[in-house]
Structures are given as C-alpha cells and as structure tokens.
Symmetry: D2
Subunit: 345 residues, 4 copies
C-alpha cells in the first residue's frame, strides 16, 4: 500500500549502506573513538562554523533529549517546552524519569514565542514562593516542530536573547532538521542554530540514516564527563563506528542537505496534489509533514488505499491527519496519491 505514514519507513540512503559495507572489516576502536567518528565530528564542526564544538553520536531522538536535558539541568530545575513538544507528549515520560519536570508554554502552530517565554521567566523570578517551585533551567525547541513549522531567524534570535538574559541554555531538537534546512521558506542555517543555541541535535534517523543523532555543544560546552553520562544511560554504542560512518557520509558532499531537499521537493509535489484536489490544510507547513483536514468518512475511504497518520480530532465529523514525505519518497508515489485524492475528494 502507498505509504505517507512517516519519514522513517525505509532503511538508509544507499551511500550510507555502501560506506558501511566498504569499511566493514576494518578493525576500529570501540565507543566512538574511531577515525570515522572523528572525521564526522570535524565535518559537523565545519558545517556549523563552530570549530570548538563538542559532538557526540547517540542512537535516537528520545534518547538524545533525555540524556542532554538531564545533563544540562540541576536537580531543582525543569525544562520549558511547548505543550505540543515531543518531550511533553510523546516520549513516554523520559524526561520526568530523569527527575525533571517539563514546564509547558502554550504553542502556536507548534512553536513558542520569545514574549511568552519572557513573561513566564519574569513571573517565576518575581514569585515569592519560587523556592517551592521547579526552577526553569533551560528551553527546549523542536525545529521543525511537531506540526512541521519552522522558527524564523528573527524568532530564534529573540528566544535566544531571552535565554541569555536569564542565563539558561537553549536546546533545539533537530530530529527533522534536514528538512528544515532544505525548506525554501527558511532563513535559518546550521551556523545560525549553532550560534543561537547552547545544544542541539542533528537528526539522522529521519533524514536518511539507519539510526543516529549528532548532539552538538557548539562552543565546546559539553557537560563534564559526558561520555560517562551517556554510558550510564545505556546510550553508548560499543560499535560507535555505526554512527560515525553514517554521519561522516551524511556530511560528505552535502548528502545531508541533498536528502533534505529531496524530501522537501516531494513535499512540494504533495502540497500541490492536495491543493489541486481541494483538500483543506490544517495549517501551512513549510517542511515534509503536511496536516490535512479530512471528513471522517472520507478519511476511512482514503485509509483503505494509502497510509497516513491520525493526528487529532478536529470536531465530531472532521479529523486532522498527517502525510509525510522523506528522502525515500518517489515522484510516482505522489502521482498515485493524487489519483486517489482526486477520486475521494
């Protein structure tokens, strides 16, 4: 069946598989001390224009979020996030398991804003009972967000300014960063993210890798003994090469960007197909996730011919669903979808 259900349905980009095969029998040190990890880190530093960056490779997004957030927070602190943020809703309480509260702000299309953040922080520090409350210790953004939306450079800068005024780190979850960087509607570059954030991860799993996320502390500001922290949380791969080789490949010849561009080009075709066939959008997403409002019976008919994700109930008769493209989406799949959409419009 035609699948637009997510962006992690296939294995890896073929160049990654090829490199894994080519390097397979080379004996390498374990736990990320191999030369491919070193090379990948160096290429990421260059791409971020952050020559002093500390870079670490983890296997998944929830893992990266839990390890980094726990390492950045003091015991008495929590992390501020949009109420729709991945860590707030869809990580099974992984953050709380490390002992920290997720302090939520209301979202607009998946994003928080600098003004709302500042109001929250200002109130906290004025509150006479604050010693009995969770201290806001850092800010979490996802970019693209859970609704596929992107922060503008101006928005990101404003949030960063608030964080620096209150001396708390800004962390960005880049699970789908490749699609965000490749969007024609963005003015945010990887060096911008490195400049505005204190930690972030460059997502591999959803952008062509088998697994893997590159955590970056752009100014050499990794928490002390971070490798041991990673080990302690069961997140240190013995064969670190698996992650190093993948990221080394992704950051060679702009592969990470080319993969993102492929997903975005497919998303552009998808949007056109949806528009042409008259489907209303829940919101305008500039990336590879598209949110569409379906009448419930229409949704049932479509679901028999194409897979997509249920997102949320809009009203009694309507549902918001998500169609996702990826580096692996082929133009003929969009065409096949267009026919189905036209038939069921």
């Amino acid at each position: 069946m035609l699948s637009f259900v997510n962006d992690y349905s296939q294995g890896a980009h073929e160049q990654i598989l090829r490199r894994l095969a080519e390097t397979n029998l080379e004996p390498l040190p374990g736990y990320g001390a191999d030369r491919y990890c070193q090379s990948a880190k160096e290429k990421i530093r260059l791409a971020c224009k952050s020559p002093a960056a500390d870079v670490f490779f983890l296997t998944g997004g929830t893992q990266a979020n839990a390890v980094v957030i726990a390492a950045l927070l003091d015991a008495f602190e929590g992390v501020i996030a949009a109420d729709t943020g991945h860590i707030s809703v869809h990580e099974a309480g992984a953050i709380e398991r490390t002992g920290h509260k997720v302090l939520t702000l209301p979202h607009h299309e998946g994003k928080i804003c600098a003004a709302g953040l500042e109001t929250f922080l200002c109130r906290f520090w004025k509150d006479g009972n604050r010693e009995h409350m969770v201290f806001p210790g850092m800010v979490y953004l996802s970019h693209p967000t859970e609704y596929g939306t992107l922060y503008s450079k101006e928005e990101l800068e404003a949030i960063s300014t608030v964080c620096r005024a209150y001396q708390i780190p800004l962390y960005l979850d880049g699970a789908r960063l490749g699609y965000g960087l490749a969007s024609p509607q963005t003015d945010v570059t990887l060096p911008d993210i490195a400049a505005y954030c204190d930690a972030f991860y460059i997502g591999g799993t959803k952008v062509g890798a088998l697994c893997g996320e590159a955590v970056v502390f752009p100014r050499g500001n990794a928490p002390k003994h971070f490798v041991t922290i990673v080990k302690q949380q069961g997140a240190l791969l013995a064969k670190g090469r698996l992650l190093g080789i993948q990221f080394d490949t992704l950051f060679t010849d702009r592969l990470y960007w080319r993969i993102g561009e492929q997903g975005i080009e497919m998303a552009r075709k998808l949007v056109k197909a949806l528009e042409d066939t008259g489907y209303p959008f829940y919101l305008k997403s500039p990336t590879n996730q598209q949110f569409v409002i379906l009448e419930n019976r229409q949704m049932e008919r479509l679901a028999r011919q194409v897979s997509f994700s249920f997102w949320e109930t809009l009203d009694e008769n309507h549902t918001v669903v998500r169609f996702a493209t990826s580096w692996a989406t082929r133009p003929e799949e969009i065409e096949a979808l267009r026919e189905i959409l036209a038939k069921e419009a």
Copy 2:
C-alpha cells in the same frame, strides 16, 4: 597493528550487511512492529524452545541490563551480582541510576555459586533489621562471565533452584552468549538457559551484529507495558527493522552458532599459540576471551606489536592481560601473533 583487543572491532557479519541492503527500500512500520522483528522473534522462540516467550530488541548490553533490571525490581529491591559482574563495575552506575543497589557476592573466576547465594538470602531474611536494608530482588549472572568462564548446567540449575525457592527472578547477561554456546566445554544449551532463567539477553553486538541484543522473557513474563518502559529509557529505535533484520539473519541457518564456533575455533588456536610459546594463563577460559600473565617489560614489548586489553595488576612485576578472538579473527592473525609471542617469550 595486529588486534586482539576485543570482539567488537569489526562491523557486521557479511550476511547481515547483505540482508540490510536487500530489504533497505521496503517500507516497514516503525518501533519494532515490522515483519522482520516478528520473524526474528519467532525464530528465537523456536531456538529457545519457548513458544510463549516475549522477545524485545535493544541496541546494547548496558542498556539491556538497565532496562530489564529496573523493570523487574520493586523500588525497595536491589540486584545480586558477582563483585566482578559487568553491572557492578563497568556500566558507569547505570543500575544505580535507575534507583537500585547492586548487592555483590564474592566471585570465583567471575562466577557466583548457589551455596553463597543461598547463605546471603537466608541471612537477609533472618536479619531483624531487614526493613532498613535493600531487599534482594533478583539475581544477575553473566554467561560467559567477564573472565570468559561458563556456568555448568548443574551450577545454573542450582542457582535457579535457589532463586525459585526465594521467589526472585534469575537474569542472565548473554553479551557473549554465542561464544558460550559454541564452546566445546559447555553442557548448557539455549533451551537450558530459557528453562532456568526468567529473563536473559542474547548478545548480538559482540557476536556479529552491528548492534543489538535480544531480550527474552521465556514464559511470556515480560513486565507490563515493556515497550513503553523501553521508550521511556530512550531505548526504542524508530527503525526497529535494523535490529529485527539482524536477528532474523542471525537465527537463520544457525548463523549465530556458526559465528560463535568461528570465534571459539580461533580461541582454540590462540590458546595453543600461547601454550606452545610458554605463556602462563591467569585462569582457564573455555571461550573467546583468554587471560594471560605477562611480565611487565614483556607486556610493554608485546604492546608495541599487538593490541590486547589491560585487565588487572597481579603484582609489582606482573600484569593480567586479555586477548580476545571473534567471528572476524582470521587464522593468519593467530599465526602472526604466534611469531611475536615466540620472539618475546
């Protein structure tokens, strides 16, 4: 340089890489719900003669230990292990991080014994202060142990009998299980382990996989909502296929056993080379890790020509070191080592 430093220096067995490539573009559901995971689980159930077994795939050994142990223990309980056990020494406190104490018993060649275990449990339950102490909530074994040694079927049965008498689960860390099962000196089979233990994992990382450990609850006794527990600890891969395809391959045509046998055959040659050249063993290991006593200056000379692992200081002038073989060790490497050994004997 010639490397006997560990058993995870290379990538994956070529059949695994081939299967990953062949299945790469097939769209599959995420988070372990794909058909390769299902097939691998079924093959593992068969190999364990445990048709009701619950099987889950995690990425690494420390992760498997921390997730399983935390899930099996009540808040007031700790896990009993040999004082040389991996969880006691080399997992950076991953178990304590989940809130549980590792209660240590003295080891003999890396193993604990049923009698020592029973004495410990008996004393605890007689102690009038036990409400102020950590309750022994389960037993952890590694097989092969950190010294490459193996429990006999009789030893395993005796420990299992004590655990059942005290109604605490027995858990076995099988990071190197493939080499244990393939040893000519063992009488323990995979169905034996499934029969005597309440949980165990079949190690992939050190036995030919890129990454991956198969956690088995042999009588359908997985902790409730185990997938959510795995997710919460950041241990659930989005592309579960990466683990499913690997284990499906390992459990097809006895590949897991053949890999183990290859490592053991190389270990046999290694032992012969060491014996022939007159190196004393620290203990007799029936598996792929061999522990040798070196005079310190001899160790320095050898270290310039071959890599091995420092294990422990024996006395002022002698050191215990480890040579490890694996599925990837080639006979000509053993021969090259033999020459070096002879020269430096």
Copy 3:
C-alpha cells in the same frame, strides 16, 4: 503584627504538647513500632470505619505525596491532578524527582470533575500512540483544594466511579482535611473518603500538630514493604513516637474535629468581617482559606498592618490575596482585622 498568613504559624495544640511531656521518659521502640503509634492507628481505623486500614505516619505533606504517589505508580505511569494541584505547582518537582509525570487537567475553583477525567482517560486509551505516552496511573485530589473549596459527596463518588472503571487508584491529599470535615457546607465524612479513595492522608501539620500526616490505605492495600519504601525516601522517623503520640491525641475525644471546628468558626467570623466591610471575594470558600480581591494600593496599605498571602495577579490594578484562619486564631484577632479592613475599605 496581626497574622492571617497561613495555618501553620503556631506550634501545637496544648493537649499535644502536654501528652508529649507526659510520655517523654517512657522507653519505647523506634521507627513507629511503639504503642502510641499502634493506638493512634486503631483510633484512625475506627474514625474511618475502615477496620482493615493500613496507617503510616509521615512528617509532611510533600513527603507524603511523593512517597505515596511513587509507591502507587508503575514506572510507565503518571498521576493526574488539577493544574492548580499542590503537586503540580508548589512541591518543587518532588513527584517528577521520583520519575513520574504530573498529568494536568484544567481546574474549576481548584477542583477537577468526573466528566473531564473520563474524557481524558477515554482519549488516552483510544490513542494509537499511547505506547509512546505517559500512562495515567492514578488520580490526585486535594480536599480542601488549594482554593479552600470542597468536593461534594456526589462529586467524590463520581470521580471514584471513573477511577474504578479505569482501575486506577484515587488518592486524596488532606493537608487541611480537618477544616474540610468541620465545614458546615460539606456532606463528606471521613468514612466517605475512606470508602471512595484508595489512599489519602489526614493532615496534622496544619491542623494542630507540630508535624505529621497520617497516610491511610483504607482496605489494607498498602504497597508491599511500605516501611522500607518510607525509609528509602528518608521519611522514617527514628522516634516515631513523636508522630504516634500526636495522632493518638488528635483522635482522642474528637480533638481533630474540635480543632477543625475552631478554625472554621474563625473563618466564618472572617468572612463576615470581609463582607461587612465590602471586600469582594475571588470565590466562595467553605473552609479556612479565604480569597479576596484587593485593589493594589489598598493591598499595600493593608500589608503594613496585617500579614496575608499574595495569591495571584488578577489584572493590572487588582490582586487576589489569601487570609487563612486556624485552630490558633483568636476572636479578638478577627475584631482587630475588622477595624483595619473598615478603615482601608
């Protein structure tokens, strides 16, 4: 200065001090095994009409909440509470520190309702992504709430019915329960609470004790080895007698109720004084906490003559403040307040 700032400004009811002095030199076993603890437990069982109840004494409210909630939840579960609940806002993240998320529902005057609870639970169990979410594992109520309001018997029964339908325990934080039971506007008795809830605590600290809260599991349903859980969280007093003697005294000759009635009678006079002098209430509270809207400059003038608590900003020019009475409030203090209120009205 005249103080209505809270209900824990004084020491203990004189009868408690007297009993502590009378029993002071009697040698007693430690850790709650003394005869006063036993006697107090028996009296509480009688008062709750719960002959099988398990009763434990802890020192404070946040401690009781953290210990009980962590003991009742599985690792993958969180606790549902009003967004204004004490555990949500004013316990410094004590619940999250035990690894569990507080899942918030919108409040109405500090309360949640059965319908909102049912909708939340129903949606969770229908959500296809629920394995990636925090499972709702119990419900937390405070009674009186943080706004002094009370659940009616009908409301409590309805919430209890939902909890039982979804097989999750209902827990009630009774930090100020004495004032709730003594309110003329309640139809809820202690046996009602024992019948509808699966765990609750009877607050001592704010109702005449030096310290101490009595945790009740009304149907003998205390978590296994609860004393060890209490010890492990640093909550087991060596001289358990301090808590036992206090609760034994509070539950002799209705002292706990008489103390509550005294606080409520003073609250009645306080309300009259506020009404007579024309101060608007933020909401109608039937217990010992009264929430009044003050114009900001008026608030500043009052604050120079009487102490009260800042509660929340209403708008640019108005603030909600709290006046609290207690067992130790004297009628002449209300009269003195009335004069000040009249002058500044």
Copy 4:
C-alpha cells in the same frame, strides 16, 4: 524491662520540651525562616568557629545523608564509604535511590584509612576504563562509626588531605556526634570537623532531640538553591520552628555537650560493669555504644531480662551484641544491669 537497646528510646531532653512549650503560641514564619532557626544557626556557626557556615535543619539521619550526598554529587559520581557505613547497609538503598552508587572500602573497626582511600582513588584515575566506571565523587565517614569508634584528629586530617588532593568533598555523618565530642578518648573538636570536612551533620535525634539533624557546610559552600533541593525531597518541615527551637536549646549553655557527657559517663559505668563481671568486648569503643561477645545460650538468658541489640554472628556459638547508653540512661539502670550480668556471667 531494662533497656540498653539504643539511644533513641526516650523523647527529648526536658529543656527542649520546656522551650517548645514556652514558644508555642508565638506566630512564626514557616519553612525555617523563623528567628529560632536563625539563632540556632548563629550558635552553631560559633560552636564550629565557622562564621560563614551555611546551616540547615533536617528531620533524620538517612534523610540528611540522602539529601546532602545527592546534592554534592554529579550524575556520574558515587560516594566512597566503609563497607560497614550506615549508607552502605542500613538506609534501605536511600543513596542508590537518588541515582548514585556507594563505592565501598574495607573497614577496620568501622573506619576507613587515608592510605586505603588514596590507593582506591589513585587506581581509579589510572584505570583506562574509568569512563565506564562510577567516578569517586566524595567521601562519607561516620563519627562515631557504626562500631562506636572515633577517628583521631590525625586520621581525620590525613583523610581530608587525600580528599583535597583529589578535589572531592569530605562529608561526615554525625548522628551520634555528641557522644563522640564528649568522649575522654577523643582529640577531635567541632571546629576540627568544620575545618577538615566540607559538609557534616550534627545529630540531634540520638542526642536529646525529638528529631532533627543540623547540616553544616562550614565555608558557606551549600549547594545552590539547597532549600529547594530539600523541599523536592520532601524534607522541608512547614513548622521549621520545631527544629530551630530544639537546636537553639541544644546550643545554649553547652546543653549538646552536657547531654553527650551524660551518655559517656553512663557508658563508662557500663564498661566497668561488663569488665567487672568478665564479659569480653568485641572491640574497644570510646563512646556510648559497647559491643560485647556473648555465648548464645547466655545471650538468650540475658535477653529475657534486659534489651540490647543483636549485631552480628561471630561463630556458631557466639554472637556480638550492642549495649547503648544515652543522655536518658540512669545510674540505677546500670546497677540493675550489673546484677543481671553478674548472675549470668
């Protein structure tokens, strides 16, 4: 029955009860912000000759240990303690529950030594695998130890020197410090402890208080936002006055020392009675806990006439038991014990 079972069998020293009664109706701010807490802190600073000390009051010893140790350690660190240390054995895993391992050193009569500590630290920092191990992050001593023994000033200084060389804090558990300071065999003063340690607590519960331990960070080196950390662990009393008034009384007119001296004088008489009647000591304790070897049938006969604590099995026929004196022990109780001892010798 005659009781030498422990030093927390009675309530409080009468002067403490008197001060609690005298101050009872005085309205005071909550959570330790009252003037008695301030006064007690100032007196403790004076007694410690540490004018910059941060002082906090907690309710019990396990609580103090867990809160302080968790606050002083980084996530990747554990606490070094004697294998007989209270945190190692008798706190139900309270330290592990905060996520940290207790790293044990062998004890001699309950004590560790500077040389053994240095060897341990030196080996750790030389170990090539240390990134996979728990980092030694602080040292825990109890003084008096669990065997009633005391560190000499020279021993304490040597341990402190090692800690400072390795830049890890030294923490001293003074649950029974009053008896240690009052021993004629000690050369360690409270200012010595303040000078050599980075944190310690002055025990109240076992030295005349109803409850309470004074945690001291002698050089103003309390962890950031320590009050919130205390609150988060459920250890912040609403009526902080209960602790402040007790410690203010204990540190007025040398009451804390006089209580200790009383316990020690009774211990001297106890030792004499035991010596005179020919009972062998397990070791020589200079404080209020005395460890005696009893023949098992003799132990049974004695146990019918006097209560003491079982300590450990010596051999098949002999048991080590503990007799404890306290501030509340009366000379006539020692005389009555002497008669029983003589009869059963």
